[in-house]
């Protein structure tokens, strides 16, 4: 057998046996593909992006001050008719007007309803009631507005929270002992929504008083999501609240996850006694009570009354919440350190820096990202909770948590004050959780190409 030189040439190139039919994908590209396939996670991602847009760009589009009180529209649910008639400025009233049975003097407006009546037969004084239902046979007169223990005053001006609509006023005679009797007179009154020129200028509806005249009609300020118990715009407050909630929700986890990664990686990589010491320190931090430290930080920061407690909250979270991440990352690093490819790399002479940056950190990235997305909703919850119990933001700055707290009082009558902030908290937390779920699946190397 003889061999020619040609037989000793290197094998030429690759033969096209196992062709790669699809483009080569990096780890993150692959993860992205799988995330895209997960509809739930993708929807959550859009939700999160939408929330960020709502928070950052929202206040530029909806330019309403979240602290301004529109006292004409207190606790207004969304989508109410806002047309108002312009009337002259309010003048006080001394009961002038024609005598006669219960009647309204002047117009019945949301500014005031002026009632005047003749003394009822045998009355030792009167009580004035207002109802949103007719009196009926039960003699349920409604809510008492005023009472007079003699017959010298036979008029009453109602200015209590008048809203456009129908009211049933009653004047009830008081008996000798001052008790309410069945002797009453009733009147149905339709109230119109009005405003004055001065108020219209004050609320920024018109530039100056010459633009409109008494008798004209005007639309009151628009509040797309209604107003709260002091007439503040819910949409503007939700946006301002989102700033606080998302700031805490994103910055705090970002910081403590970063710290946790560095701490855990160092402990896991160095190992031995140092590792033992560092992890026992982490255990110690876990044992510290969060709420107590939150209060201590607030005092240590010299946060005076009426100042925002957001910074101490941030510090408390960073200082106290990192051990979970640190433990997770340490576990990963310990595992990786013993992996065959790391040992091979070490045998080939790779330096520590290279090992950590090239092999270890990228392989823990998945875990870290997933932790981060799960920590964000937790942090938002913590912020909401702390603001709910009054440890967070200072009024008038809103936060979703403090808004929920305020909304609880009026839960039954004007539920929108509680529902909107609660809804925002729920949606945000859900979105981040689903996104985290999707990311975990997408970044899990073992599931690579499984989908």
């Amino acid at each position: 057998m003889s061999y020619g030189a040609a037989d000793f040439l290197p094998v030429s190139g690759q033969r096209d046996v196992h062709g790669i039919s699809r483009p080569s994908l990096s780890y993150l590209q692959d993860a992205w593909l799988r995330l895209k396939a997960n509809r739930r996670a993708l929807a959550s991602l859009y939700l999160v992006l939408g929330l960020l847009f709502f928070t950052i760009a929202g206040p530029w589009i909806w330019r309403v001050d979240s602290a301004v009180q529109d006292l004409d529209q207190i606790s207004q649910p969304p989508g109410v008719d806002r047309a108002a008639l312009i009337v002259p400025d309010y003048q006080s009233w001394d009961g002038a007007g024609e005598a006669g049975p219960l009647h309204v003097v002047g117009d019945a407006t949301s500014q005031s309803v002026r009632l005047k009546w003749d003394a009822l037969p045998g009355a030792n004084g009167h009580r004035v009631y207002r109802n949103i239902f007719p009196v009926g046979p039960e003699l349920a007169y409604g809510m008492p507005l005023a009472e007079f223990f003699d017959n010298t005053i036979l008029y009453h001006e109602d200015r209590l929270d008048l809203r456009p609509g129908r009211y049933f006023y009653s004047v009830v005679a008081l008996g000798e002992d001052g008790a309410v009797t069945a002797n009453y007179e009733s009147l149905t009154v339709d109230v119109r929504r009005v405003t004055t020129l001065a108020e219209a200028v004050d609320r920024g509806l018109i530039e100056n008083e010459d633009q409109l005249a008494v008798g004209d009609s005007i639309e009151l300020q628009l509040h797309p999501l209604g107003t709260d118990y002091l007439g503040r715009d819910m949409l503007a407050r939700l946006m301002a609240g989102a700033r606080v909630s998302l700031f805490i929700g994103i910055v705090a986890p970002a910081l403590f996850v970063l710290f946790g990664v560095v701490f855990g990686a160092a402990a896991g990589f160095v190992g031995g006694r140092v590792d033992q010491f560092m992890m026992r320190f982490a255990d110690f931090v876990v044992a510290l009570p969060f709420l107590l430290f939150m209060i201590l930080f607030k005092i240590a920061f010299g946060i005076g009354p009426g100042e925002s407690g957001v910074m101490p909250m941030l510090v408390a979270m960073v200082v106290l919440l990192w051990p979970a991440t640190a433990r997770l990352v340490r576990g990963q690093i310990l595992q990786l350190r013993e992996a065959a490819y790391v040992q091979a790399s070490q045998l080939l002479g790779a330096r520590t820096n290279y090992l950590v940056l090239r092999h270890m950190l990228p392989n823990t990235l998945g875990v870290v990202l997933v932790t981060l997305t799960f920590e964000i909703p937790k942090a938002i919850f913590v912020e909401a909770f702390l603001s709910f119990i009054g440890m967070g933001v200072a009024p008038p700055t809103p936060s979703w948590g403090s808004m929920s707290n305020e909304g609880i009082a009026t839960m039954l009558t004007t539920p929108h004050e509680l529902i909107f902030p609660a809804l925002f908290i729920s949606i945000t937390v859900l979105a981040f959780n689903l996104l985290g779920d999707g990311l975990r699946d997408a970044l899990d190397a073992r599931m690579r190409n499984a989908g």
Binding site: A67, V68, E138, Y141, P144, L160, Y229, A394, L412, T413
Partner: protein, 560 residues
């Protein structure tokens, strides 16, 4: 991966659903058990005509019922039903004889003649010695009674309380068992109204010694002499008051048993208890009124007696010490808008004066005899005063104003409302400092505020309970307002015997408070409430106990 569930999967799902259903059923059953066991503690519901009993709820539990040291409204309510002082109130809030059957008030002192048939619940008679013992104890510095000052008209009281004199020197003595002689420090024409207050109630000395320092801590740590006996007190849960068979009169205490079945701050849970027919009456807050009207309840109202105001700090270093600044604060807000639009409470009245409208004058209501200057809401004028203040103080810009308030819902609304009003009308920045009630009082004492949202309720039925609030020696003058003019007027109001001249002094106090802007009046508090239609004669009071069942009776015929 949306894998089609296979047959086996499907049955697994079914099994799971079954578990869930069973689990839920178990939870519901357990909850039902729990609800039953708590429900059975209270029997009979709101009105039990058969046993002549009613069930009510208290807002808070009395910390203790030692009346020498009691300060809170719950204690006052319980004590009003179970105790009686020298004098007491009838159902129209007029003074009537209590343990004393007649009395005489002179310039230098007073004499009370005690009735023969007033008895303690252990059968012993209530004697003048019991009053002497109780009053000396209140002034003893060791008792540390917060209401010791109310007894200062009695000779040497203040000196004893300071520890300068022994307690035996107090100007009160018993002449036999049935005559009580009181010596005054200075003329005190309103002394009869004072002795109806709990701090003046008697204590049986022998019984007091037998309690070993636990006086008033439990139902059996008190002797009762009022229309009701407290027979049971389960702390933070319930109380039981039963009609006192030994009570001397038959003009009050008609219902046999009053069960305090619930003690809860939460207005919503009290409303639910009322709806369920578990309690006889409850308070309504504005957001409940709509439902109350829908349910066709007969809503009642009453004045609570308390006036709420922004109290301003006169100490050095506070911008509120400047008169023009205070004027600006007063002019730039409108209590009418605050009460009618922000608070929306039909029983509240916008306040104008330190004195509430129900205070009695010489003959008529005080405010009808001496009407206060009406409030002026004038932003332009307010800004002028603010500018003057800025120049007087030599400031470029005003520092943030420290606004102290309660953490109650009402305290928060008030603080946030005024924060926005002063920001809008005066461009001032207010920092809200929300504190729990006790902490707010502590901060007020220490002067750590510029403006504080506070209120003042009457201790006795006389204009002086409001009138002496801003004298320089009154510790409740927490803004430390001092003016020789005010002090002189208060001294006249305290000791003037002619009612007309005395009321004129009060009128001048009213004007001075407005002129110097010691306070920015907010509202006079009231209550909107509902009562079970079968319960008659129930009262909510401005002075004394918050709720009064001593004149109430059950009318079975009244259908609901």
């Amino acid at each position: 991966m949306n894998a089609q569930p296979s047959r086996t999967n499907f049955s697994a799902l079914r099994q799971l659903a079954l578990y869930v259903v069973f689990g839920l059923a178990a939870v519901v059953w357990l909850l039902g058990l729990a609800a039953n066991s708590t429900g059975s503690a209270v029997t009979g519901g709101a009105i039990d005509a058969e046993n002549d009993a009613i069930t009510i709820a208290l807002r808070t539990e009395p910390p203790q019922l030692d009346y020498g040291r009691a300060t809170d409204s719950s204690s006052l309510t319980v004590l009003f039903h179970t105790m009686e002082g020298l004098l007491t109130y009838d159902d129209e809030m007029a003074l009537i004889p209590g343990v004393a059957e007649r009395w005489e008030i002179r310039e230098d002192g007073a004499t009370f003649w005690l009735r023969e048939d007033a008895r303690w619940s252990n059968g012993e008679p209530v004697t003048a010695h019991d009053f002497v013992f109780a009053w000396r104890r209140v002034q003893d510095p060791a008792t540390a009674s917060a209401y010791a000052f109310i007894m200062y008209p009695v000779k040497n009281a203040e000196a004893i309380n300071r520890g300068d004199l022994p307690r035996e020197t107090l100007g009160v003595r018993a002449v036999g068992d049935r005559i009580l002689e009181v010596e005054f420090e200075q003329p005190t024409p309103y002394f009869d109204k004072l002795v109806a207050f709990v701090t003046f109630y008697p204590i049986n000395e022998a019984f007091f010694e037998s309690t070993g320092g636990r006086f008033g801590a439990d139902a059996d740590m008190l002797l009762y002499n009022g229309p009701y006996l407290m027979t049971e007190w389960v702390h933070s849960a319930s109380m039981r008051w039963e009609r006192n068979p030994d009570y001397w009169g038959d003009h009050k205490g008609f219902i046999d048993t009053i069960n305090v079945g619930y003690i809860t701050q939460d207005v919503n849970s009290r409303l639910n208890l009322f709806k369920d027919g578990q309690i006889a009456d409850t308070q309504l807050v504005p957001q409940m009124l709509g439902e109350a009207m829908e349910r066709r309840w007969q809503i009642d109202r009453s004045m609570d007696g308390t006036v709420f105001f922004l109290q301003l700090n006169f100490r050095d270093g506070h911008v509120t010490a400047n008169k023009n600044f205070r004027k600006a604060l007063l002019l730039a807000q409108d209590p009418v808008e605050f009460v009618y639009k922000a608070l929306k409470e039909p029983s509240y009245m916008p306040a104008v004066s330190l004195f509430p409208y129900w205070i009695r004058g010489a003959e008529d209501y005080f405010r009808q005899e001496h009407p206060p200057i009406p409030h002026e809401y004038n932003v332009a004028k307010a800004r002028e005063h603010l500018e003057l203040a800025r120049r007087e103080l030599g400031l470029e810009e005003f520092p943030p104003i420290h606004l102290l308030a309660d953490d109650s819902p009402l305290g928060s609304i008030s603080a946030e409302y005024f924060q926005a009003v002063y920001a809008r009308n005066l461009g001032l920045e207010m920092r809200i400092d929300k504190q729990i009630f006790k902490q707010r009082l502590a901060k007020m004492d220490a002067g750590e505020f510029d403006i504080v949202v506070s209120g003042w309720g009457p201790d006795y039925d006389d204009a002086l309970t409001f009138g002496d609030l801003f004298s320089s020696w009154n510790l409740n003058n927490r803004g430390r307002y001092t003016s020789p003019e005010m002090d002189a007027l208060v001294r006249i109001a305290q000791s003037e015997l002619d009612p007309v001249r005395r009321m004129e002094a009060f009128a001048q106090i009213q004007d001075l408070v407005q002129e110097d802007v010691v306070i920015v009046p907010m509202y006079e508090r009231g209550w909107s409430f509902v009562v079970d239609p079968r319960l008659k004669g129930f009262k909510r009071r401005a002075v004394g106990p918050e709720v009064d069942y001593t004149y109430a009776w059950i009318d079975e015929q009244a259908a609901d």
